[in-house]
Amino acid sequence: MLVREGAMQNFNVDHGYLEGLVRGMKAGILTQADYHNLAQCDTLEDMKLHLQSTDYGKLLSSSEEDLSVSLVDSKLRENLVTEFSCLRSNALPPLSTFLDYITYGYMIDNVVMLITGALKQRDVAELLPRCHPLGGFDQMAAVGIARTPTELYSAILVDTPLAPFFQDAVSDSNLDEMEAEILRNKLYKAYLESFHSFCKKMSGATGDIMCPVLEFEADRRAFIITVNSFGTDLSGADRSSLYPACGKLYPDGLRLLALAEDHEQVKAVASCYTDYKAIFEDPEPGSEFKSFEDRFFEQEVKLNILAFLQQFHFGVFYSYIKLKEQESRNIVWIAECVTQRQKSKIHNYIPIIQ
């Protein structure tokens, strides 16, 4: 307990500025009223006009090209990356390590995307712009050289921070699309477990805040892996090696999930846990249909909002990035609906701040 209090006392010396910064940026997250206004727009130009009155300001109006959804998406992403790199470059350890951990997830996605791209004989130059800039690293372009996970590890990724996550993923089987997907999940499992134990070791409220968020993330992955594996030749045992072992489902829930063979059985597993019961429940008649992915997103937003209720911890940084990502998804969704004139679906975004 002494250690924890000490962490609180000295928190502001090193990280107070950045926490203040991130809380200020959080105040700029779009509210329900903003979404309401955005949803009324008829063209992207209107959306641009509306976003001008928010914290995004001149973000969209400074471009010379014509507005398109992909331009909006890339601008939003650019904005997020600018904010993140501002935080990262001012961070001191251990916050800098924490922020690096956030980027590893994006790195894994980038690696897997490059591998699948290389399998499809795509040009690296064409793939690189599609990588998430938060997960960028020097060796990225060379990923396509590797033929097997072992080669990938020993030749290319050994210098990157992803190397420790490869311990379980090393195998000599040829990389194909299925294998790449499995690699992604294995890396993610190792990453989440490592991040989880890192947060747990952190003093103060960081662990208290971050652990539930990461546990939720782990469980979500487990559910999604299970649901997606139906109809493929992935066996239950294979599956269980992909489940991150740091969530609330561990260990009993994961064992049951490994045995599940259809959607109903997954639902039965979820019903044992109060947090996930609602997600897999059938929608009430009359209410609009939401996929369980959307419900997971909703739940994630709720968890991330909670992080802002406490002070002196790193959770706010993670939560801010995740909330901002969700916001970008929302804006892009609305922009999609606006351009494709799908007004009826426009309200399927996930509100962040009521």
Binding site: H50, E64, D138, I145
Partner: protein, 768 residues
Amino acid sequence: MVFRSEEMCLAQLFLQSGSEYDCISELGELGLVEFRDLNPSVSSFQRRFVSEIKRCEEMERILGYLLREIQKANIAVPEEDESPLAPPPRQVLEIMEQLQRLEMELSEVAKNKEKLRRNLLELTEYTHMLKITRTFIHSRSRHEALGPQYEEFPTMETDSVSGCTGMQRLGAKLGFVSGLIQRVKVEAFERMLWRVCKGYTILSYAEVDENLADLDTGEISKSVVFLISFWGDQIGQKVQKICDCYHCHLYPHPENDEERADVLDSLRTRIQDLNNVLHRTEEYLRQVLQKASESAYTWVVQVKKMKAIYHILNLCSFDVTNKCLIAEVWCPVSDLANLRGALEEGSRKGDATVPSFVNRIPSNDTPPTLLRTNKFTSGFQSIVEAYGVGDYREVSPAPYTIITFPFLFAVMFGDLGHGMVISLFALWMVLTEKKQNKKRSSNEIWTTFFNGRYIILMMGLFSVYTGLVYNDCFSKSLNIFGSGWSVKAMFTNQNKTLQTNALLTLDPNFSGVFSGPYPFGIDPIWNMAVNRLSFLNSYKMKMSVVIGVVHMSFGVVLSVFNHLHFRQKFNVFLLFLPELLFLLCLFGYLVFMIFYKWLAFGARDSSQAPSILIHFINMFVMQGKDITPLYPGQMGLQIFLVIIAMLSVPVLLLGKPLYLYWLYRGGKGLRRRRGYERVRRVSEDDNSTAPSYEDDEEEGVDEVTNREFDFADVLLHQSIHTIEYCLGCISNTASYLRLWALSLAHARKFSTNNQFTLSFLCSNATLC
């Protein structure tokens, strides 16, 4: 400066379509009116003139780009004294076209220039690479030349004689990849190369002496030239990929020395050509920018004005026939004629067949407060506005602030010398204000000073005055008129006392010692006195309280004008009187005691002079039989005053709410009667257009009672006001003592400063 805020009226403007733009432009130049939003429910992008605003934004974007380029080229944008008028709508397209053409041209030239620059950089890199790789090859060939001398390597010779190595016999041939890489990436590059190619490559590298700019980012950094030799196509592909991934710039490696020399030669000429072309392009770009910079300022202002006009037009509503726009504005009554003139001018400019016109409409809304200022009063007005903007037609405190603010400052700052310095500085700012205004400095601290230049000037002048009163000039006294004190009279023939004592007491009771007061301010002899501080403290403390009470009473008296103007006579009796009584009975009496003590006790009986503080405290606790009264009947008067002050508090607290409540409940019968009277009166003077306001007092009361009456609400407001006022009186009186405290602090600080500097100079002098 005006006593009250300007009288306003609500007016409807009927702007004929076609000339509405010119009308608004004309109004904007004059700054006469405040527009009301007539379509608050319409969201900003559904309004009528959105497309025009978008066009303005597009122009702003281009202008921003243009200005950035101009700044990059280090060309100054000349600013004009007069801001240009908003362009007429038909000229807008012209400007737009001009801007777009400029943008196209600029981006074209910039793109070309960028391409050329990139080309040039590439060629420079190539030359560097060629020069450096030659040293690699040569050092290696020197090795080979030395080779035969070693007994260990005879096979080499034989291999080359037989024409090919083992690898070459297998069909794999020796390949070279050469290029440049950033210095920081070399280590990682080498490691990756080793790991991927398992050592089947030879990498040699050397740093480039010069700092080269990066091709993509233009950042200047150290680069390294490398040469990789490898066998086989498979590895070659891998090497290629790794080079791509580390963003190396690869250049073809020449086969032999002659080719190298040829390439170097051709590179040299090409670089020269490129430099020429680049130079010319830059020249041209500069010309274009120079021309653009001449009108850039005008464009920026014009586009800004245009955008503002369309924003205003968005606030207007259309009438049913769509023939004209209707705007609602608040306008000062005295400016209605100007408003009409501006509209006529606008219609004339817009070539409208039907002129636009103004229609005054009655309104129950509270109009906005307008206080006209000039460059002198605007500073003081902004000080007042920092506390809050008065209601419509309320008495404006700003005119009095012009005197009180600098004066209270000077009371604290009182020093002739320092005051002079400040006023000279302010005077300089005032005299050069035209020049400074033009400069438009962006330094925040400087603009604060500059905007307050008249305040500072007044503060300086008042400080000179109070400095004279305090007889302080750089913390020293001036002896202008000759001191009224003289020690001579006391010691006519006792020279011994004079010589042996460092300190002498001047007794004013001695005839001849005190010949009369100093004509102005404080006698300079006090500067030498040991008890100077206690004398000045007592004087300044009392003076602060006197000034404070006078200042506060003045503020309370000003409120009467508001009560009378808003026809709320009951407020005079229920608010103003108890407030004034409370203040004067307690603190007014304190002031009276101060003056009484000054007048009643002279030099002779000064030892019996009482402490006012004790008397004042005793007044509250209603004791003090044991000390001698200042004057006969003091006890009785004091008790009377305290009781009056205490009684005025409940009157202040309950008077207004109860009166209003009574009006609301019991006044109904009364009002019916008056209503009847009014009906009669209206029918009598039917031909008078507007209902006249001569109906005194009850009119205002009617207004008050007509609204929903919430007793608890009024009571709460009144109790907050009461508490604030009573506590405020006490704490403000105490706060005015700060005048003394800061004055003391200022004087002490500078006198010690003086001492230190003087003693420092003296010690230096002795050392020398």
